[in-house]
Symmetry: C2
Subunit: 306 residues, 2 copies
Amino acid sequence: MSIEPAWIAVDWGTSRLRAWAMSDTNQVLGFLENEQGMSKLSPDQFEPTLLDLIAPWRGQAVTRVIACGMVGAKQGWCEIPYAEIPFDLTSLVPQEITTLDSRLAVSIVPGLSQRDPADLMRGEETQLAGLLAQGSDFEGVVCLPGTHTKWCWINKGTVERFHTAMSGELFALFTQYGLLRYSIERGWDDDAFRRAIVETSTSSRDLTLLLFSIRAESILFRSTSAQSRARLSGLIIGSEIGGIIDDILGRPVIVIGSHGLSEHYRTALDHFGADVSLLRGDEAVLKGLALLFQNVRSVGQVESAL
Amino acid sequence: MSIEPAWIAVDWGTSRLRAWAMSDTNQVLGFLENEQGMSKLSPDQFEPTLLDLIAPWRGQAVTRVIACGMVGAKQGWCEIPYAEIPFDLTSLVPQEITTLDSRLAVSIVPGLSQRDPADLMRGEETQLAGLLAQGSDFEGVVCLPGTHTKWCWINKGTVERFHTAMSGELFALFTQYGLLRYSIERGWDDDAFRRAIVETSTSSRDLTLLLFSIRAESILFRSTSAQSRARLSGLIIGSEIGGIIDDILGRPVIVIGSHGLSEHYRTALDHFGADVSLLRGDEAVLKGLALLFQNVRSVGQVESAL
């Protein structure tokens, strides 16, 4: 039986394209994905790439798509200007773009920008909107771990400020290209992770000054690859949280992301004394896109496209 | 006219092999180098590589070579065990190794190790010895900037403790492989470097939390590649020094290294209020190898090889 979604939710990041077929009551009817992220596409390849992926879901009617992520960046399908913070997410309106196929109506969620200190996000704002869809009175800090981890201070639907940490990219660079890469190839050791977190919480040293100990310990004490890898992660995440903890304590913290990485952040935040809960990243994206789809409808963009 | 050196000083690191022909009064008679660093050689390739480079300097007598650097590492020509700190550099004795060519006598300088916190050096101990050759009563901190920058606390010839910072490697990873690499390809902007140093000295944020601002500023404020590149360097060096400054202030600091990088460290250390002077890296290596060559002679290694 073929699926005929009321609309399609799309999360289109740097490395992946993911699409959900949604019912008119926002139930998930189907899921499709591929590796055609922004980094692999030129602007004119986005529309055919999307049409190819969602072909099984298309009928006679106009296909309505709401997309978030790097698809709206300068190097993406169509550049959507950033909304500047402080910004009330309930008023965030995805922008309709021009498509070649007249039976396709695509709107892209704007990212958020901050001038001082300069910072940017594209994609995470939708997950924040998803959190608000669950209850709009959240007041606290949201952590979205990833290549560029975002820390966001939220007050009843408004993003007041945010801060990006390059922790995930740092971990990737060291494990893929760093001189330590052969000592940290694979595995995971929970104790080594926890010890590293404790170490960062009691040391005033910057991360730069802690990392070489991984190599020294592997030579002097023959630490295993699993220990070294977990220690690298612990030193990076611990240094990140240590540098921001004074701004977190006393506020509830919600970590939104994938299972493994979110658990690591929870462990570290627990150690630093934060009050932490978790929300699944996929769930947040879908709830956010559903909330923002209402904003598109309420300003009449979709109707005018019909 | 052919050169017949009394001995040959060799600095054999990860990426380069450098050799100086020395007179019996330690004057430099000649210099040769190539890119055959440790990372490009298997253990049995070291001897032919060295013989090839120094061929113009060989006569009928035994050729005496003192070498420092990664040549003595596990992946080098022959593993020389580390000397454990605290260690008096005046008693550091290069270890003679076995060679296939009986007219070649090679001694390799041991590196230094520290157990808590675990740390290692190979090569820098020779530069420290070179500093002592100038006057053995130095009491203070020596900074040796590089891929893995060393900070060493020295007391009258003894290395009391040291600390490695992975700052140079971090800069290399970000400029070569990082997602920012296109924003920081080339150029240098002194003002941007200084502003970044000031920023690190007034912020409690860890480096991880500062780096993304380079990308955000390049998008929001169209900062140039030269500004971004210098800012990256300033944020890394400033975070490194900021994490260690309490251990430096009140002690004289000597920076030993190449011209450009040493100047950046001097600028940053000046800003943090340290009392800094510079020593050329090449000069320190040569003076150190000359000092250590005496140690080899005084324990009779060279004589026994004749």
